[in-house]
């Protein structure tokens, strides 16, 4: 009954989406229908949410008469992973996708008061059309509620690599971000349809873009930390296609976030902002397509189905193509924006946008090149870190350099940039660069990365100079914190690639190893057990000066399905992390891999600061918009 209720709710919601689309088309002619669009959007969101809750319930009960539950769950799994198993598979994650899409649409319908009514209706129509495609996809090609008869005694389990708190919440976070971009997309389409591209649209779009950006940032940082501790390789970014799939929308959204500020504050960059909103959501659909189609080599290929991939590809072509066509037809009617000087805040933001677009372009080409080559010549190739590091590294450095000066420039014109203000960060950069030569073996990228990070750390605070800190708007604080986060993360990345020390050995119990400043004694191993796994646990005691820490890395064995995983033991100190992995048995010895990673925590701390900055700006925006009485007065030069 639960499954049937869920499926029925899904059908109802789909028909409401169809109704919403029809209403938005008719709304112009039949006046009284207008008021119906909002309740329809809300009912649609609630029904989809209900359907998703039903699916979670089925997973919690491990209802083995439902095919999806059988294939992806097991009653012996801990409760939290039975819940997370709901979206740890294709159908469930697509249902989650539609749920977020429709709930976001309902929210927009409820809270958006500033847009002209015509634009709002067109926006909700676009959102309904988006939802319809994905409803169709679920109901036709991937019904999550399909029954299995006869029902087996138990399910087949969930990939143990996914049984990790980090990963249980990582996909929903990314999805919330992806789908938040759908609102930006719909707003852009709505504005194009009604020819209302201007600051009002930008202000309506901004909180959604900020929110999506914060969630994408959190998702990417959390995913990176998961890969770091769970895969046991000590690396944090692999340029895996699935990682790129989340990075590409993030890059587009970062660009959008900056151009949207220009549009909202100054009325410039109209067409460019619309274009970025379309590109950002398209990138999140491409991401979904890459992950779900399995056309790329990926360590994430656990959720693969080519036929479904082609369905998503069809939707992608339809929506992106449709939006781009609309853009091409309407771009001439988008009014010209306010003028600005090349050396101005706008100019710096244009440069930021162009650089981000170049990074996005190179990542996009590198990610899809193997598909293209295979389609054309049948050759199988894979593009890896050597390519991505070489092409993106230098541009990231240029972007960082731009961050020194950009936030200090004034809007519209700044014919004489005040260079005195960046003297302090410039000196810090030079000193830091000189200091990196203490390690002559360091590569140029990490060397410059560390130097720029040090300078940018100072430079990011400059916009606060001369301000009353208590009266400084939250949006400024947000910018400062995010830019500081970039500096901090850069320092972490550069430090990890250049300062890490490694020791690899096969040790007998009682043996003592050393790595960096640490002395590590291998005490021995013990068998241990968990809810659905058994493990061999190594015992290590690491000492440095007076501190002594115990580390217990494990090698785990799961029976459902039969898999082995490595659980690294990591200890975090103020100046870095000690990372230990237990390997295989070699006679009476055990393989041990030890890393001392100075400053590596800065990487995730930086990521967290970037997200926090976005969050502060979001709160600041929401507060400000509430107190803003008129909205249609466009800022002029």
């Amino acid at each position: 009954m639960i499954a049937e209720a869920g499926l029925a709710a899904l059908w109802l919601a789909a028909s409401l989406a169809l109704l919403q689309f029809a209403l938005s088309l008719l709304g112009n002619r039949i006046g009284e229908l207008r008021t119906m669009v909002v309740p329809v959007a809300v009912a649609q969101g609630l029904l989809t949410l209900f359907s998703f809750v039903m699916l979670i319930w089925l997973f919690i009960r491990t209802d083995t008469s439902v095919q999806l539950v059988v294939a992806n769950s097991h009653s012996a799994k801990p409760f939290i992973y039975r819940v997370a198993g709901t979206w740890g598979n294709h159908e469930g994650s697509m249902l989650l996708w539609v749920t977020v899409l429709t709930v976001a649409g309902a929210l927009l319908a409820l809270v958006e008061r500033r847009l002209p009514e015509k634009s709002l209706r067109a926006t909700l129509g676009a959102q309904a059309l988006l939802a319809l495609g994905f409803f169709g996809f679920l109901l036709v090609a991937s019904n999550p509620y399909a029954r299995l008869n006869p029902a087996p005694d138990n399910g087949q389990g969930l990939n143990p690599l996914l049984q990790d708190p980090g990963l249980a919440f990582h996909p929903p976070t990314l999805y919330l971000g992806y789908v938040g971009l759908s609102i930006a997309f719909s707003l852009a389409v709505g504005a194009l349809v009604t020819r209302e591209v201007g600051p009002a649209m930008a202000r309506a779009m901004r909180p959604w873009v900020l929110g999506a950006w914060v969630l994408l940032t959190i998702g990417i940082v959390a995913g990176s930390y998961w890969a770091y501790y769970e895969l046991g390789w000590g690396g944090w970014w692999f340029w895996d296609p699935v990682e790129n799939a989340s990075l590409m929308p993030w890059l587009a959204t970062t660009a959008l976030l900056h151009s949207i500020n220009v549009l909202a504050a100054r009325g410039s960059l109209r067409a460019w902002t619309i274009m970025l909103a379309v590109v950002a959501f398209s990138m999140s659909m491409i991401g979904t397509f890459l992950v779900r189609s399995g056309i790329l080599t990926s360590v994430h290929s656990f959720a693969v189905d080519p036929t479904r991939g082609s369905f998503i590809l069809g939707l992608l072509v339809f929506y992106t193509g449709g939006a781009l066509l609309l853009f091409a037809l309407r771009v001439s009617s988008v009014r010209e924006g306010a003028r600005f000087d090349p050396v101005s805040r706008e100019g710096a933001l244009v440069a930021n946008n162009l650089l981000l677009s170049v990074i996005l372009g190179t990542v996009f080409v590198g990610t899809l090149y193997p598909v293209l080559v295979e389609a054309v010549s049948g050759d199988k190739i894979s593009v890896g870190p050597p390519y991505f590091n070489a092409v993106t590294g230098p541009i990231v450095l240029i972007l960082a350099a731009l961050l020194f000066i950009g936030p200090l420039l004034r809007w519209r014109k700044d014919s004489r940039p005040n260079l005195r203000r960046i003297a302090a960060p410039a000196i810090v950069t030079a000193v830091a660069l000189a200091a990196t030569f203490l390690d002559p073996a360091m590569g140029w990228l990490p060397r410059l990365g560390l130097a720029f990070a040090a300078g940018l750390g100072i430079a990011s605070f400059l916009p606060l100079a001369g301000r009353n800190l208590r009266r400084t708007p939250l949006t400024i604080w947000g910018m400062v914190v995010s830019h500081l986060g970039i500096a901090v993360a850069m320092a972490g990345a550069a430090a990890d690639s250049s300062l890490t020390r490694e020791t690899l050995a096969a040790a007998r119990p009682g043996e003592v190893l050393s790595v960096g400043p640490w002395t590590v004694r291998f005490v021995g191993v013990d068998p241990v057990g968990g809810p659905n796994w058994t493990a061999i646990e190594g015992h290590l005691v690491a000492t440095r000066g007076d501190t002594s820490i115990r580390l217990d890395p494990q090698s785990r064995y799961f029976s459902n399905p039969a898999t082995e995983t490595t659980e690294a033991a990591i200890t975090t100190r103020l100046d870095g992390q000690l990372y230990t992995v237990l390997g295989h048995r070699e006679g009476d010895r055990w393989q041990l891999r030890l890393w001392w990673k100075p400053m590596v925590t800065l990487l995730w701390l930086g990521g967290a600061l970037i997200a926090l900055g976005g969050f502060l700006a979001l709160i600041g925006r929401i507060r400000r918009e509430k107190s803003r009485p008129t909205v249609f007065a466009e800022a002029r030069a």
């Binding site: 990939n159 143990p160 690599l161 390789w233 960059l269 460019w272 080599t297 360590v299 290929s301 656990f302 010209e336 924006g337 003028r339 600005f340 000087d341 090349p342 244009v350 162009l354 650089l355 677009s357 170049v358 990074i359 996005l360 372009g361 190179t362 080409v365 590198g366 090149y369 080559v373 199988k380 190739i381 894979s382 593009v383 890896g384 870190p385 050597p386 390519y387 070489a390 092409v391 014109k413 690899l504 050995a505 096969a506 090698s555 399905p561 039969a562 898999t563 082995e564 995983t565 490595t566 992995v581 390997g583 295989h584 070699e586 006679g587 010895r589 393989q591 891999r593």
Partner: protein, 148 residues
């Protein structure tokens, strides 16, 4: 220097086009240099793999070829695609699923002596994971064996 609105728009469009072209050129340059990332033992024996640059070498671990060195952390083995063999040496912890007659990918560099030194070994990730390249190789190997 403030441009007329029309010109400013033109400049922005030109800049955007320049950025896109720049990205494409940069990507092509990078790809020409580094896209030949995945190699098979056959490529290596035919001289189609560069020496001293980061590569991924994929193949099956040849039966009976795994040899562990006395230090307990170095393993030497042979990767094969049924046509050619490449000796690989790896210092590190091999993945749990690394075994004979099973697919593996070695990340590292080819030495001038045509031996491969790996920094990282990827084996089948879990029972459902097999890189497409490896999947094909396994299928080809089977057909070859049946043909014999």
């Amino acid at each position: 220097m403030t441009l007329a609105p029309k010109h400013q728009r033109l400049v922005l469009v030109l800049l955007a086009v320049a950025a896109l072209v720049g990205a494409a050129v940069l990507a092509m340059w990078g790809l020409a240099d580094r896209a030949a990332y995945f190699r098979t033992p056959q490529d290596v024996s035919a001289g189609r793999a560069e020496v001293g640059v980061p590569l991924r070498l994929g193949g099956m671990v040849k039966a009976g070829s795994i040899r562990r060195e006395p230090d307990g952390v170095t393993v030497a083995f042979t990767l094969t695609d049924g046509v050619a063999d490449v000796p690989v040496r790896y210092r590190g912890i091999v993945p749990d699923l690394f075994k004979e007659n099973s697919g593996a990918i070695a990340e590292g560099q080819l030495g001038p002596d045509r031996r491969f030194t790996a920094d990282n070994i990827l084996a089948k990730h879990d029972e459902r994971y097999m890189p497409p390249q490896m999947g094909n190789q396994a299928a080809e190997l089977k057909t070859r064996e049946t043909a014999k």
